[in-house]
Symmetry: C2
């Protein structure tokens, strides 16, 4: 069985590890599964061959024998379900770890995506400078709640799980904004994630965009 | 085993079925599982008893014996995993149905949430009127892709699944905006969801806010 994932041919963040293939690579590294990479250009992502794999024209996708998946959350869940290391065996602990996967992408990430949308889709608009503090306050509201729940624990619910992998990946998007550093417990939590050997391997394996111009 | 879910004491939408407990009720109805309801007031949602169940102070939550979950996506997945009717048995078809659950909440819903945030959190701001068309265009971009993938099929991948339940629930948030009607295939898809007896029972069972004032 060969696993193939797609990634950006030229990572728009120049190798900061924020594209969603990094999450999937991290999960594969935690699970000890080798994989092959197929880089896709921005043009090819909107063409029918890739749209057949990913209806929203994004990366990553996941192929394994006759199974093709998209959506990093679904791919990570698939990896976690089929290999040890990402979900606890106890049924209740497993359900709670899955809950954190969903919380990461449906409660925490949408507020963070607003920050990115403001910068990239509305960066030239006259209102954006005034909106950014409002968006950042909405992010702080969620991070306050998350930090209160995490408390002094290493991970969100017992041992490291796919829930932590998703939450750390989502929070990493905030690093450049400086907001993460306002929450020392969350900053330390993210640092624990980054210190994992599997994360380090995933980060190192990213395709770094060659310098242009 | 008794299942207990929480919902708004007074639904902010006055019974339109857009609060996230409707998704969970729908899943429980599809699975033929009875449940008890515990309505929670806005004040109590931010108090420690409820925050112990839901760290982000929201509804719904799910309790069953010694298991407590939050996040509608995770709850629906838990129901789908333990009862027939929401996920196919074939492993590959099951993984694809789960993919649509994640696509609904991580790719389609965030753009729709921006519309709600603009109205409810920034409704009084001078830029909101000018921003709304930009947000709506971002929603249309995703709906175009989704409509192309759905094509003339009844459901996103074979038989109705938890992926359709999530996607229909997400798209329902758009009805009042009129955007859904611009995509006849998606409007018909949502109508097929609403026509299911389980959806009708879930909708009817919502707590409707009593008239105020």
């Amino acid at each position: 069985m060969t696993i193939t994932i797609t990634c950006f041919e030229r990572s728009p963040d120049g190798g900061k590890g924020l594209a969603r293939d990094t999450r999937v690579r991290w999960a594969l590294e935690e699970a000890g599964q080798p994989y092959e990479l197929r880089p896709v250009s921005f043009g090819a992502m909107k063409e029918s061959a890739h749209l057949g794999l990913h209806p929203f024209g994004q990366i990553p996708t996941y192929e394994e024998d006759d199974l093709a998946l998209f959506e990093s959350g679904a791919i990570i869940f698939h990896i976690a379900e089929h290999h040890a290391g990402l979900l606890p065996n106890d049924p209740n602990a497993r359900a709670r770890a899955i809950t954190w996967m969903f919380a990461a992408i449906n409660t925490v990430e949408p507020t963070i995506l607003e920050l990115q949308t403001a910068k990239f889709a509305e960066g030239d608009k006259p209102w954006t400078k005034e909106r950014l503090p409002l968006i950042k306050d909405r992010i702080r509201y969620r991070l306050n709640q998350l930090s209160a729940r995490l408390g002094d624990a290493d991970w969100l619910d017992g041992a490291f799980s796919a829930g932590d992998l998703m939450m750390v990946s989502v929070l990493l998007r905030l690093r450049l904004s400086g907001i993460l550093d306002e929450f020392p417990k969350l900053a330390a939590y993210v640092a624990r994630g980054e210190a994992r050997p599997a994360y380090k391997r995933a980060f190192a394996s990213q395709v770094v965009a060659p310098p242009t111009g």
